[in-house]
Every structure is written in structure tokens, then in C-alpha cells.
């Protein structure tokens, strides 16, 4: 069985001259040309940028120079990360045609490493959704079965990697938007500790929850990417940078490590997913880990707390779209106020408008104390509860999503039913903790099942090592190649 492309493997091919970076890039671009019509993973292809960078990499190789870890590796960026001179839309009609005049810090970092940007990936509009179907470009499909969604909101990023139309993608995770699509597409999705990766240039949804991270085909790749992008950035007032490098600490023995299991995470989870995770628990026990049972009753409030806080922040963050400085502007209006209202109603999709309305409601006079203030207090309780849990264990193990990938047209149903699917992913964002979703099996339709390892604040290296040990133990049994995309 062939596996998806991996960073070190490709880096070796380039350095040994088995393939030139231009040849490799063309292979990816050709595959995208062919397969993206079906998968809809990309909403913009950046062929010129990609080939220009690839040529630079080939020149470096011809001089016998050593490549940086991400140099020459073809990759994708979610369309909410600002790319100077390259259209960035957040998959919203309100930002169609918007061309940023500066780069997001993450893009600046990897661009300086000569990362080969193949294109910008599809996402739920303003990252508000769990299926990628609120995108104004239509949803991204799951390469494992195109009758199913790739997940969301970073669905395009996951689809691009699972379909091998990119070696890795950068996504963003506000309530599970990296981990959930990674779980649906059988990939590794890593949401770092809040503050570890700069948010500068990431188009804001909910600033106290948003975090950029990698979607990759193995744990080692996620660690390599994290090491490259996690750095202190004075342009992001909440930036802290990383405390440790992770890729070189992936071989640590986990004998004696305490893995916490909270029963609250398993309520309402499909039986086959529970069984897959129980199998993973056995693997960890064989590796010498100690399983401890922990209580986390506060997470039953995590979902409403998340939606109140996220929507409140969104209503404020999205106030900037007024049609004056950038983005769409309505054609017919009577005065400025009418112009702003019409611009926003015509430019934003239904789900975005619904979340702005909810956010406005919970912040409005008479409701602020009952909703926003109360949610903030509960957020404090959830942070404290996780802190206590990590006094008795090193990492937590939980499902990533209660189900496997949804069938198409999922979001057209009841909004609450859609929100409920985020139940396992949002607590981590509320507490600002790191979590990585890794594949742990398949359902009876052959769709991937994911589980997540959650760590204490800034212990990103600990969870990546635990994830790597599991992956190493079960080898390739948890990964499945699709018939799509580039074969190297």
C-alpha cells in the first residue's frame, strides 16, 4: 500500500535529485487541475507563485545547499490566512476580490522557508460550520468517499491532503475546525496551545479561541510544521510562542505516562467509535501507559459556552465588513446606513448572519449578564477543571467527533443538531489547550475514525510524542490511501 506523501520523504527526494522541485510542483498542479473539479478542496490555485518558488528551490539544490525542513514542500493554506497579492476570501461573498496587502505571520514564516504554495483551500464561510458546506464556493468533498463531506471548517485543507493534492495544509481551529476534518479524512490534525502560533493575518472569527495549526498525513509532519510556525510574534498581542521543539522529541518512551479518560467525553458517542478508542487504549496499555479515570462534569456546559463566546466575538469582529474599505458593496442604497445593512445582508451567508445575530443578542443590554458574563464565568470553571485533571494525568484521550464524516447536505438541517457535533472538540478551545486528532480505525463504510489526545497548556510536545508512539505501534493500519492525487 502506498502512503500519502510525507515531508522528510519528499525532502530526501529533492535533496538527492530524484525529482526536481519544479517537476514535483507540476505533478501536484496537474493533479489539482484534474481532481479539484470533483473534490473542490481548493478555491484558488496559485500556480505562478508555486512554480516561481520551486525554481528558487532547484537553484539552491543545484548549488548543493541543504534544504530547510519545509523548503520545496508543496502545501496549501486555508483561505482565511492573509496572503499578500493573492486573493483571500474566507469563502464569503463579502470578501470576494479582496487582495490583502500584507501576509499572515505563518505564511511569512514558511514563505521565507520557500514553502511551495499550491493554493488557498475551501472552508466554511468565516470558519463558521462543521461541514465546509457554508462556503460560498460549495463544500469540499471527502476523498475517502465523495458522497461525504470533508468536514469543517478546514474541509478544503483536509481534502487537499487526504486526496494528496498537497503534502500538508495549514488550517485554523476555533472549536474543532482542524481536528474534525482531520478525523473525517483519516489525517493528523493538530491544534496547538492558544498563543503558540501567531494569529496575525488570520481573518478573525473568535479571537480568544482561534488558533492556526497543521493538517498532515502523519504525526511527524505535524510536529515539523508546528516547530516551523510556532514562534513569538510582537504583532499578535496574545502570542507566547512555543516552549519546546517537538519533532526531535518524538521518540520518548511513554512507559508510566498517565492517560486520563473522562466518561463525559463518551456520552452520545457512536458505539463503533467507542470500540476503536478502547482498542487504542489497549495499545497504550501495551506501551506501558497507565490509564486513569478522571471527572470533567463541567464540559457539559462547554458547547453553549462556546457558542455564546464565539458568536459574541464574531459579532464584534465581523463588524468591520461595511463595504467601505474592502470587500463587496451593495449597488443600490439610500444612505450610508442603508448601504452598510444591505452590503452585510447580501454579502454574508445565512449561518454567518445567524451567528452575528446570536452574538449581538448575548451582548445586548438586558442579556449581557445572563449570557455573555455567565458564559465567561463558566469558561473560568472549565479552565480550572482541566487544570485539576492534569494534576492527575499527563494527557487525556477522547473521541474527536461523535460520528464519522457526514453525508452531503448536512448543514441544511436543524442548526442545533449541527452545533452538537462539536461537543468533543470545543472544550479544548475554551481552555486554550493543545490537542491532536489522529486516526484510530474505520467504520463499516470504510470511513476514518479519529481520536484526540489533549495536553496541558504548552505541553504540545507531550501529546505529539504520545500520538507518535501510538502511530508507530499500529504502523500503517490506521491510514488508508485514496485513489486520488499524486503518487510519489
Amino acid at each position: 500500500m502506498k502512503l500519502l506523501s510525507r515531508i522528510k520523504y519528499i525532502n530526501n527526494l529533492l535533496e538527492t535529485g530524484e525529482v526536481s522541485c519544479v517537476e514535483l510542483t507540476k505533478k501536484y498542479l496537474d493533479s489539482i487541475e484534474k481532481e479539484n473539479k470533483i473534490l473542490n478542496a481548493y478555491v484558488k490555485i496559485t500556480q505562478e507563485t508555486a512554480l516561481k518558488t520551486a525554481k528558487k528551490v532547484d537553484e539552491k539544490i543545484s548549488k548543493g545547499e541543504k534544504l530547510l525542513p519545509l523548503e520545496g514542500i508543496p502545501m496549501s493554506l486555508k483561505d482565511n490566512m492573509s496572503t499578500k497579492d493573492i486573493e483571500t476570501t474566507c469563502c464569503s461573498n463579502i470578501l470576494k476580490g479582496y487582495v490583502p496587502i500584507y501576509n499572515a505571520t505563518v505564511w511569512d514564516i514558511i514563505k521565507n522557508q520557500n514553502a511551495v504554495l499550491l493554493g488557498k483551500t475551501n472552508m466554511d464561510e468565516f470558519a463558521m460550520g462543521s461541514s465546509c458546506e457554508t462556503s460560498c464556493f460549495g463544500g469540499a468533498l471527502n476523498p475517502h468517499d465523495i458522497k461525504h463531506v470533508a468536514g469543517g471548517s478546514s474541509g478544503g485543507a483536509a481534502s487537499s491532503v487526504a486526496g494528496n493534492l498537497a503534502v500538508y495544509g495549514l488550517g485554523s481551529d476555533t472549536g474543532g475546525s482542524i481536528r474534525q476534518p482531520a478525523s473525517f479524512c483519516g489525517l493528523v490534525g493538530f491544534k496547538p496551545t492558544y498563543g503558540a502560533v501567531s494569529r496575525y493575518g488570520l481573518i478573525a472569527y473568535a479571537s480568544s479561541l482561534d488558533q492556526i495549526g497543521p493538517i498532515a498525513s502523519c504525526v511527524e509532519d505535524a510536529a515539523i510544521i508546528y516547530d516551523a510556525i510556532s514562534d513569538y510574534d510582537s504583532k499578535d498581542s496574545t502570542s507566547r510562542g512555543s516552549r519546546t521543539k517537538t519533532a526531535n522529541s518524538l521518540n520518548k518512551c511513554i512507559k508510566g505516562i498517565k492517560i486520563g479518560i473522562a466518561k463525559e467525553y463518551f456520552e452520545g458517542i457512536r458505539d463503533d467509535i467507542k470500540s476503536s478508542i478502547q482498542e487504542a487504549v489497549k495499545v497504550y496499555e501495551d506501551l506501558g501507559a497507565e490509564i486513569v479515570h478522571v471527572d470533567l462534569p463541567q464540559i457539559k456546559y462547554a458547547l453553549p459556552v462556546y457558542y455564546i463566546i464565539a458568536c459574541a466575538e464574531a459579532s464584534s469582529n465581523l463588524g468591520r465588513y461595511d463595504g467601505i474599505r474592502y470587500g463587496y458593496r451593495t449597488s443600490f442604497y439610500s444612505d450610508v446606513d442603508d448601504m452598510i445593512c444591505k452590503t452585510r445582508s447580501e454579502g454574508f451567508g445565512k449561518e454567518v448572519q445567524r451567528r452575528i445575530m446570536l452574538g449581538t443578542y448575548v451582548l445586548s443590554a438586558g442579556y449581557y449578564d445572563a449570557y455573555y458574563k455567565k458564559a465567561q464565568k463558566l469558561r473560568g470553571s472549565i479552565v480550572k477543571a482541566f487544570k485539576n485533571v492534569f494534576d492527575s494525568c499527563d494527557v487525556m484521550l477522547a473521541p474527536t467527533v461523535p460520528t464519522t464524516a457526514f453525508e452531503l447536505n448536512f448543514t441544511s438541517k436543524d442548526p442545533i443538531e449541527t452545533y452538537m457535533t462539536d461537543i468533543c472538540t470545543v472544550p479544548v478551545n475554551i481552555a486554550g489547550l493543545p490537542a491532536v486528532s489522529i486516526p484510530c480505525g474505520f467504520d463499516d463504510k470504510g470511513l476514518p475514525i479519529g481520536m484526540q489526545l489533549i495536553g496541558n497548556s504548552f505541553e504540545d510536545a507531550v501529546i505529539l510524542n504520545a500520538a507518535y508512539q501510538y502511530e508507530h505501534q499500529v504502523k500503517n493500519k490506521i491510514y488508508k490511501q485514496t485513489d486520488i492525487g499524486v503518487r510519489i
Binding site: G97, Y98, V99, I101, Y194, G195, S208, S234, S237, T238, Y301, P304, V305, Y307, I308, S315, D322, I324, R325, Y326, G327, Y328, R329, Y333, V336, D337, D338, M339, C341, K342, R344, S345, F348, R354, I356, M357, L358, G359, T360, Y361, V362, S364, A370, Y371, K374, A375, Q376, K377, L378, R379, G380, S381, V383, K384, P415, I416, Y419, A431, G432, S457
Partner: protein, 96 residues
């Protein structure tokens, strides 16, 4: 319970124009969502717990100095309507 009037009031605050035909469905959706949000009010409040910031970040001050900013032309290029180095909007202040 969310009413049609509530929806119109929130829409006005949020600067969204809601069509007559959408009010019914929006009221229904919002009522469901608020009912769901209301579940937090069943939680016993931890009186000591206040949330400020996850990583206990304090304000980061920098020197008050003029640094290189973006070029004005660059900033204006994403706007639908510009003139004389400014964003152009319809006149909205009337002389008394």
C-alpha cells in the same frame, strides 16, 4: 421567547437587513438557539471564578514612536470607491 420585534431590534444593532419573508424562520431558529444557550443558566456558579485570559497575559506596551506603515494607495486599492486619496461614501451629514 424571541419575538419578531426582538429579531428586528437585534438585526438593527447588528446592521443587517432582514427581509419580511425571513423573519418567521429566523425567529424560530433564534428561539431554538437561545433555548440551547439558556442551559448555562442551570450551572451552579462558582463565585470565585472570573475569566480574564487563558495565558494570564498582561498588556504589552511599546514605545510611542512613528514606524513605517502601509502605503496609502495600497490601502485604498481594495475599496469599491475611492477619490482624492480617500474612501468615497454617500454624503451622510446634512447642513442644518
Amino acid at each position: 421567547m424571541i419575538t419578531h420585534e426582538d429579531i428586528l431590534k437585534i438585526a438593527k444593532l447588528a446592521k443587517l437587513s432582514v427581509k419580511e419573508t425571513e423573519i418567521e424562520q429566523l425567529t424560530k431558529d433564534m428561539s431554538e438557539i437561545i433555548k440551547f444557550a439558556d442551559t448555562i443558566n442551570t450551572a451552579v456558579e462558582d463565585k470565585d471564578e472570573e475569566f480574564d485570559d487563558i495565558n494570564n497575559i498582561v498588556n504589552a506596551y511599546h514605545e510611542d514612536e512613528v514606524i513605517k506603515s502601509f502605503d496609502k494607495e495600497e490601502i485604498l486599492k481594495n475599496s469599491e470607491s475611492v477619490g482624492n486619496g480617500c474612501f468615497v461614501v454617500k454624503k451622510h451629514v446634512n447642513r442644518r
